[in-house]
């Protein structure tokens, strides 16, 4: 079966982001970029399923600026078979991304769409669920375990009070949480090999449903900073502060 994996290029998770003073957004110029960590976990899972003989082809999709091709090459080096890049400098809401992915899913007919549960820039946590709704497929979100057969997926989901295991019919959308796996590093030979794997660039104009504007960003600001605190030197001093100064115990 074919698997569709979507990846996004984001600011590296270990970089401290800075907000532009003019309120237009977060400064991405010269920032170190990386594959969204949850997408990397989703891709790793797809590769493991392929290695286990359950998956025949992994199609990687990324939507965004030209440099997103680096992220796709990285994914191809990890083990994806081919890549589709929908090139655009515009930023999109998850509903628009979901429409693009839906159209690609209609064309490619994968049995599984494996996505990260959220990107670490927008923190929306929406695309997988929206894609599932548009395709009328079942969804297994925030998963930490996945077992696949030819017709079903069984997934352990991280829910509010603990864990939930569900079974869904394929085709389905699955979104990866942190504890699903630890992604591999691509080896040098596979990085070289990835350069000759197919990467198709498509124009945004091919995806009319994605072009409806839903949101206008008015301003982006930095959150208020906390006032500096004090050090105490003993349990007694701490108790005193909590009781008499902060009055919280």
């Amino acid at each position: 079966m074919k698997v569709l994996v979507a990846v996004k290029r984001v600011i590296d998770p270990y970089v401290r982001v800075r907000v532009a003073e003019d309120g237009t957004g977060v400064i991405t110029k010269n920032a170190k970029m990386a594959m969204n960590p949850f997408d990397e976990i989703a891709l790793e899972q797809a590769i493991r399923l392929k290695e286990a003989g359950l998956v025949s082809e992994i199609i990687l999709v990324s939507i965004g600026e030209h440099a997103g091709q680096e992220t796709l090459r990285k994914g191809l080096a990890m083990g994806a078979d081919r890549a589709i890049h929908v090139e655009t400098d515009a930023t999109f809401q998850p509903i628009q991304i979901a429409h693009i992915l839906k159209q690609i899913a209609d064309e490619e007919k994968p049995m599984l769409a494996l996505l990260g549960k959220q990107t670490i820039d927008g923190d929306h946590n929406q695309t997988g669920q929206m894609l599932a709704a548009l395709l009328d497929w079942p969804q297994a979100t925030f998963i930490s375990e996945l077992t696949l057969t030819a017709t079903t997926a069984t997934a352990c989901r991280e829910i509010d009070g603990g864990l939930e295991t569900i079974e869904v019919d394929l085709p389905a959308v699955v979104t990866a949480d942190l504890r699903l796996n630890e992604p591999r590093y691509a080896s040098l030979p596979s990085i070289m090999k990835a350069k000759s794997k197919p990467l198709v660039t498509r124009s945004l104009s091919e995806f009319p449903a994605a072009q409806i504007e839903h949101i206008k960003v008015l301003a982006v600001s930095a959150p208020a900073e906390r006032k500096p605190g004090v050090r105490v030197d003993s349990v007694e001093a701490l108790m005193d502060k909590l009781k008499n100064e902060a009055q919280v115990i």
Binding site: V26, I95, D123, A133, F142, A246
Partner: protein, 312 residues
């Protein structure tokens, strides 16, 4: 303008996350309905009906909603959609699973984790784990939001209940099947609404030692949290995790024990009113967010603190 709040419940009772979602809804309009969809959930509906200022509770009580799957609930909400302008749920795992599906069926955007409502169509939400805040205008006519429970106070439960209206719509969906649920026993307060939270990190070194954190929490009547490092190391279950990818909390008092203060953890607790950090590394990042920092060996400090609290 009418709002539909989608309640989160255990069939038996309506969870407090819903009380916060109702407060957000009331900031938009006085016409707030609550939907309870489940099986055998009449008690949850009765509980929701006592929330002050609620117009009515819609009760969809049928076997097809037993496991509250997003697939069937979103279709049910779509049938109710012509009546409403806003659809709101708390940004819990339940809300995050459901509301994007609702928005996609309506072909509208969804705003996640809304922390402020500025007008009928202007909202504020965090980006980059709370390192930036985005003020956005929603252009869609139907507006779907999840709200961060800690950013809105809880609506009180009153005496006079709102009317409960039965909804008979059934949704046929058999592509998702429930296998099992493993819930952590919870005698302690819920993390997202607790007044005090004690959280443990990698510094606890083992699952056995993590009990020190739990003992301290129990004396304070607090909820127990954990850093991602502590969860990954198996010291604490996954639903204890506080942080960008876990739970976002804002208690009156947050005590971080043996937590260094990774960006993603800070994102989940920095809105707490008073933060205490106990860590042996004087340079740990957590100290720059703490109101009160105590540098030292937590295995000496925690027993002393527990004794001091017992004696007071």
């Amino acid at each position: 303008m009418r709002v539909l709040v989608i309640a989160e419940h255990s069939q038996e009772t309506c969870f407090s996350a819903t009380d916060h979602a109702v407060t957000a809804a009331k900031q938009l309009t006085s016409d707030v309905d609550i939907l309870i969809a489940g099986e055998g959930c009449k008690k949850a509906a009765e509980r929701a009906a006592t929330l002050e200022g609620v117009t009515q509770v819609l009760l969809a009580d049928h076997g097809c909603y037993q496991h509250q799957f997003a697939e069937s609930l979103s279709k049910l909400i779509l049938t109710l959609a012509p009546e409403y302008d806003y659809f709101i749920a708390a940004a819990t795992q339940f809300g995050k699973n459901l509301m994007p599906r609702v928005a996609a069926l309506l072909n509208v955007a969804q705003l996640s984790d809304v922390v402020a409502i500025e007008s009928a169509d202007i909202f504020v939400r965090p980006l980059y784990a709370g390192n930036a805040l985005e003020q956005v205008q929603l252009l869609d006519a139907k507006k779907v939001l999840t709200i961060r429970a800690t950013a809105f106070s809880a609506t009180n439960h009153g005496i006079t209940p709102a009317p409960i209206k039965q909804i008979d719509t059934q949704i046929d969906w058999n592509k998702t099947r429930f296998i099992r649920q493993t819930l952590s026993p919870c005698e302690r307060p819920d993390l997202t609404t607790a007044r005090i939270i004690v959280s443990g990190g990698r510094g606890l070194q083992s699952q056995e030692n993590f009990q020190l954190v739990e003992r301290l929490a129990d004396i304070l009547g607090a909820a127990v949290g954990a850093s991602r490092a502590a969860v990954d190391a198996g010291f604490a279950p996954n639903d204890y995790q506080v942080g960008q990818t876990g739970k976002v909390v804002a208690p009156q008092l947050y005590i971080a024990v043996g937590i260094s203060g990774a960006i993603q953890h800070i994102a989940g607790m920095k809105d707490s009113k008073v933060i205490v950090a106990i860590n042996q590394d004087p340079d740990a990042t957590i100290f720059s967010y703490a109101d009160y920092g105590l540098v030292g060996d937590l295995f000496e400090i925690l027993p002393k603190l527990i004794t001091a609290l017992q004696n007071q």
